[in-house]
């Protein structure tokens, strides 16, 4: 049997058991990660998983069942179980469930990949991390860490509406970090980002990072941070680097525009959103410099795909246009509830998890400035970069973020290094205070976005550029 045959059998079994709609995803994923520490390989892990997840809609109620068995019998049983679970859901029924229409299609799609990352010799990949971590140790790191991760995912999607879509998505990335331990505190510097940089690309992405060339600098910076003055407390002009901006977008825009949160579907766990659908199209989310797109079509970005996990083709749209909120991340069912005519942002973390609304690539369009211009135009402020901590409330309003490093800005120049920089604010107030935005966009990838119950890890992309904000409270400490 082909994987399409297995998925088709599961869908048919769900229909036979009473479902009025069903879909199935067969997925096969290979994963490899290697971590190095202080010049040695710390851990090498390779894993493989394969299975089928079936979604069934019975009346107005959903059910989902998944098994790691791709035989015909197991697939049919899974389809039947999904329908049975859906029938149990009807004991606490909701309003009539509908799906916004999506043209059924047969298609194949693959992400771009120059160098298959799983085919690169382990010794070459290990040498890269060993060299970088050794260099950091030589430059004073108490702990020198390096990591890469690779995912190679193939999936076959079949729906009762006639979809037959297969995709292969290869993702990889990595990074390094230097940790300096002082009396009573720990300082950390990472390159190129706290969790590294990731994309739907081959090993060429990791090579392009040139990890070894940055090892000495971040080790030196981590040690220097131990004796740097603390970030002053108060309200000031804040310039954020592009990596921290990616986190700012992810937490205070990306999650807030998830339609399932807006509809209350995540109320008990991840939370809701401060956004009200009645204000879609009119709400001023930020300053006129703020243009945020939902764009899974960006080649090589981590949130890219050909079709989402409901078979909706990737398409670009605005979430925020010239500061006005105009779009959401939606699935076929949530869009129908909200009265919207588009979906396309539903994905699952593997075959054993229910597809749900997830960020794709949610990021900023370029602005008219440069980072140097922002610094030159600032008399008194703080420049922060590289995310270290992130906390935001369940409505995605009240945030407090910490960065690894900061610098004083005085009279248009970057001055002293500052340790433990933090800033806090309320999402829309903060975004409305953005008065300068750089054109220097980097498509950052976030490989660790948690959501859902059971928990799912999502891979999201965030094109981001340095930006300047006014009257921001900084230097919050315990």
């Amino acid at each position: 049997m082909t994987h399409y045959d297995v998925a088709t059998a599961a869908v048919q079994a769900a229909l036979d058991a009473g479902a009025r709609y069903a879909d199935a995803r067969v997925m096969h994923r290979r994963y490899e990660s290697m971590s190095a520490r202080n010049g040695d390989i710390e851990e090498l892990t390779q894993s493989e998983d394969a299975g089928i997840g079936v979604r069934a809609l019975v009346g107005s109620s959903w059910g989902f069942y998944a098994v790691p068995d791709l035989s015909d019998g197991a697939a049919r049983a899974a389809g039947g179980r999904a329908a049975k679970i859906a029938a149990a859901s009807a004991r606490v029924p909701g309003p009539a469930a509908d799906l916004v229409p999506v043209q059924a299609r047969t298609a194949s799609w693959s992400s771009e990949c120059e160098t298959d990352p799983l085919s690169v010799p382990l010794s070459d990949k290990g040498d890269l991390l060993v060299h970088a971590t050794k260099t950091m140790r030589e430059h004073g790191a108490d702990q020198a860490e390096g990591l890469y991760q690779i995912w190679d995912t193939e999936k076959w999607f079949v729906s009762s509406e006639g979809h037959r879509i297969d995709q292969r998505i290869r993702e990889c990335g990595g990074g390094i970090a230097s940790i300096a331990v002082g009396d009573g505190e720990v300082q950390r510097r990472s390159y190129p980002a706290n969790r590294g940089q990731y994309g739907t690309q081959g090993w060429e992405l990791v090579e392009s990072l040139d990890l070894g060339a940055h090892a000495a600098r971040i080790a030196d910076e981590s040690r220097a941070l131990l004796t740097a003055p603390p970030c002053p407390a108060g309200e000031t002009t804040l310039i954020l680097g592009d990596e921290q901006m990616a986190l700012q977008i992810h937490e205070s825009v990306g999650h807030a525009i998830e339609l399932d949160r807006i509809l209350g579907w995540e109320a008990a766990f991840a939370g809701t959103s401060w956004l009200d659908l009645d204000q879609l199209g009119s709400l001023h989310y930020g300053s006129e410099l703020m243009n945020i797109t939902i764009d899974p079509t960006i080649p090589g970005a981590l949130g890219s795909f050909g079709f989402d996990d409901e078979g909706t083709p990737a398409a670009r749209r605005h979430a925020v246009k010239e500061g006005r909120w105009v779009g959401v991340l939606a699935g076929r069912d949530s869009a129908a509830v909200a009265g919207l005519d588009y979906a396309g942002s539903v994905r699952a973390d593997g075959w054993a998890r229910l597809p749900m609304v997830r960020m794709t690539n949610v990021g900023l369009e370029p602005g008219p400035h440069t980072l140097d211009e922002m610094i030159a135009a600032t008399d008194d402020g703080v420049y922060m970069d590289t995310n270290r901590s992130w906390s935001i409330d369940d409505k995605r309003l009240n945030f407090q973020f910490g960065c690894e490093i900061g610098w004083e800005i005085k009279n248009g120049r970057r001055g002293r290094m500052l340790r433990n920089p933090t800033y806090t604010g309320i999402g829309p107030v903060f975004w409305r205070s953005m008065d300068m935005l750089s054109s220097e966009v980097v498509p950052w990838g976030t490989p660790n976005c948690g959501k859902g119950q059971p928990g799912q890890i999502g891979h999201t992309g965030h094109p981001a550029a340095p930006a300047r904000f006014q009257n921001v409270r900084v230097g919050v400490r315990g």
Partner: protein, 453 residues
């Protein structure tokens, strides 16, 4: 089946190679509700085979869910190839020697085999008991069985089952929460939980904003769980300790004398299997006794580095995060004189609230992140209900705060004004970890911002 799978894999490993195999079968079902109806209802049953090999002084790990002969042979072959290409592993601590287990784990058949209807009925009861308030949450059942075998002769098997329910009720912008975890299906009463969540939500309506600052607090057991999780991850983690990134100093009076903290996956009510990822038997490990830090948790590697013995805390999925005590129990205080809890205050917190002249009752801590791992300064928010306490009574619902607080400092000598007389078990948000906590009355908690910034 898991034990047989472990032996099959071990039999595929060439002679002379040190190997350990951990097979776990997780059957998980979760019925999720929002806007007072079931909107997601999922189940999966997954067997994962994890293999770690040490060949010619080199170590590699692999895992698969493909349990056919071909899949298992592929796992062994790939992992051997990977090990050959790895540099020498000078810190290899060797395999766990044969050792007896403390039982097979707490397992209840009715819980393990709970049906979708049983979960849905509890949701129905929760929704109905909320009296028309909007509700959301989940009811989850798990059946986890595991087997271990290594080439040193250690063989282990165990199983456990769990039910957990966690829900909120909502009214006029106020949320009230109730949750519990147990090994017995019959322990989880959806109606009782729904009624408590609704009472808390109603009592939270019309909340006022208070100025940030330091307040005396009573943390309900659910909020204390967040403290335990962060102490586990950053403090009592043997790897963090070895790397000098932990606050822990064994032998030092780092906590108030009212604090006794142990990790115990078993006991009468524990919900774990009786061995860790390296096959080391689980046992009760006291980490803090009367406020004095006793030890940190170790796997075999961190133990070897520290000159200690494994405490049975090797984590599944690799050693990068270190050895984590993920079944922490904060011991309850002496049984308190009977205080009428009412519908809002968790009964476990009632006697503590009665002693507060002016302070805050906090239900949950949310989205906590560490600013500095060594001092364990954490920022986060309150959630699901805060009330002003005046002269031992709840007087006013309060809007949520942001806080920035060192957790060890909050529990430091002289800082704990009371420990609740009973402890509650809670599910972990992400997986197989369970936390047991009483309420705590603390002298000071640093609220650094209000709901409006």
């Amino acid at each position: 089946m898991s034990a047989e799978l472990a032996q099959r894999v071990l039999g595929m490993v060439p002679a002379g190679v040190e190997a350990e195999v951990f097979v776990d079968h997780m059957a998980r079902a979760l019925t999720r509700f929002a806007n007072s109806f079931i909107h997601q209802n999922v189940a999966d049953a997954t067997t994962t085979v994890r293999l770690r090999l040490h060949a010619d002084g080199r170590t590699a790990s692999g895992a698969t869910t493909v349990t056919t002969d071909e899949g298992l042979r592929g796992l062994v072959s790939r992992t051997l190839d990977a090990a050959r290409l790895c540099p020498p592993d000078a810190g290899w601590p060797g395999l766990a020697a044969p050792a007896a287990l403390a039982g097979e784990g707490n397992w209840d058949e009715e819980t393990a085999k709970a049906s979708p209807e049983a979960r849905a009925d509890r949701v129905r009861a929760f929704v109905d008991a909320a009296g028309g308030l909007e509700t959301a949450g989940y009811c989850r059942t798990l059946h986890w069985s595991a087997a271990f075998a290594n080439t040193a002769g250690q063989v282990a098997a165990g199983r456990t089952a769990e039910i957990a329910m966690d829900g909120i009720a909502r009214v006029e912008g106020a949320d009230g929460a109730a949750r519990i975890a147990s090994g017995q299906l019959s322990d989880v009463d959806g109606a009782a939980l729904g009624a408590r969540a609704a009472a808390k939500a109603r009592a939270g309506a019309g909340a006022v904003e208070l100025p940030p600052g330091r307040y005396e607090v009573v943390l309900e057991p659910a909020a204390v769980v967040d403290v335990l999780q962060n102490l586990s991850l950053y403090g009592f983690n043997g790897k963090a300790y070895n790397e000098r990134q932990s606050f822990a100093e064994p032998g030092a009076q780092q906590f108030d004398e009212a604090v006794t903290l142990a990790d115990d996956a078993l006991g009468d009510t524990g919900l774990g299997v009786p061995f860790d990822a390296e096959g080391t038997p689980k046992r009760r490990v006291e980490l803090v006794s009367g406020g004095v830090t006793q030890r940190v948790a170790h796997d075999r590697r961190t133990a070897a580095e520290a000159g200690a013995e494994s405490t049975g805390h090797a984590a599944l999925g690799g050693r990068t995060r270190g050895a984590l005590p993920a079944n922490l129990r904060l011991m309850p205080g002496p049984a308190a004189s009977t205080v009428e809890a009412g519908a809002v205050i968790d009964p476990a917190a009632a006697s503590l609230v009665a002693g507060v002249e002016r302070g805050l009752l906090v239900t949950d801590l949310w989205y906590t992140r560490v600013l500095d791992p060594k001092s364990l300064v954490v920022t986060g928010l309150t959630r699901n209900g805060v009330w002003l306490i005046e002269d031992g009574e709840l007087t006013t619902p309060v809007r949520n705060f942001r806080f920035t607080q060192s957790y060890p400092q909050a529990l430091g000598p002289g800082a704990v004004l009371g420990v609740g007389g009973e402890a509650t078990m809670f599910p972990d948000m992400w997986g197989a970890a369970w936390w047991t906590a009483p309420a705590l009355r603390l002298a000071s908690w640093n609220f650094t911002g209000g709901a409006s910034g």
